[in-house]
Amino acid sequence: MSSTVPGEKSALTPGAFLLRGLIAGLVAGLFTFAVAFALGEPHVDDAIALEEAQSAAAPAPAAEEAEHEEPGMVEISRENQKSWGLLTGTLAIGTALGGLTALAVAAVVGRLRGLGARGSTALVALIGFVSIALVPFLKYPATPPAVGDPDTINGRTVEYFAMLLVSVLAAIAAVVVARRLAERIDGFTAVVLAGIGYLAVVAVTAALLPTVDELGSFPADTLWYFRRSSLLTLATLWGVLGVVLTGLVGKLYDRATADAERRALAASL
């Protein structure tokens, strides 16, 4: 009856999950590009126009790294940046996150009481969106061109990834803790307590990390439109990734279950 009879080849290999994650991530990357291009690019263009108006008014504040005469410096046209460049970025990030998400799914399917393959996959994608995209965004929201002092990029990069790392580790810990607690208390209370634990960890981390305040006189409406489109871009990535991966992993499990039942039936004859 068990599906792990020695010598039996299971379709549920890590590679099978990874392949599905890469496919789901690639599809998500394409949709993400479409949303980023249609909703985000107009505001990036607005911000760059403001940036250029600023640097024209104030002569040479040495803010543009592209203007230094150093080897390896190139200028890439706006047309290329907003089309092929943007597509490269969304496909790379989509595929990378898709693969990582699928491996996380492989780790939890069958180990979360009460959740099937599809439910587990959707949950992992939801946790991925909250911990990798939403929580870091709430502390360090996306900034359009012209916002941000190039001299502080080192510190801001470290702080952003520190927030991201704590959030991801806390989310993984919350899932492990919820699973352990559910063996002793009821599942609902276990999940609520683990969720509160996650929120407490990221809230304290966010409070301890420094606040970035480099807006200057950047117009509030352009900033809000840019940030809203950035959040929609991230939601598209995780939403499409979650839906496609849930479908693919669900199909994979349907087939594995059907195979196991057929074998069990054959063995019982």
Binding site: S2, P14, G85, V109, P136, A256
Partner: protein, 72 residues
């Protein structure tokens, strides 16, 4: 882990799992690869530059802004 000690008439659906040890190898291997890809899109030629210059930064510039990474 997928065995149940009692055999109920209608057994609760017990999903097969992927062995964690087997999965670990894949996580390390693909994890490193994914980190590299994410690094080039999200942070290269900002805080750290490999290689020197701005070609990677400029090429993925818009994705870096719109996906919420600190750009410049």
């Amino acid at each position: 882990m997928s065995q149940s000690s009692a055999a109920p008439v209608a057994p609760a659906i017990q999903l097969p799992t992927v062995p964690l040890l087997q999965l670990g190898t894949w996580v390390v291997f693909f994890g490193l690869l994914a980190m590299l890809a994410i690094f080039f899109v999200s942070a290269d030629q900002g805080a750290i530059s490999i290689p020197a210059g701005n070609a990677v930064h400029e090429w993925v510039h818009d994705a870096r802004h719109l996906l919420g990474y600190p750009c410049h």
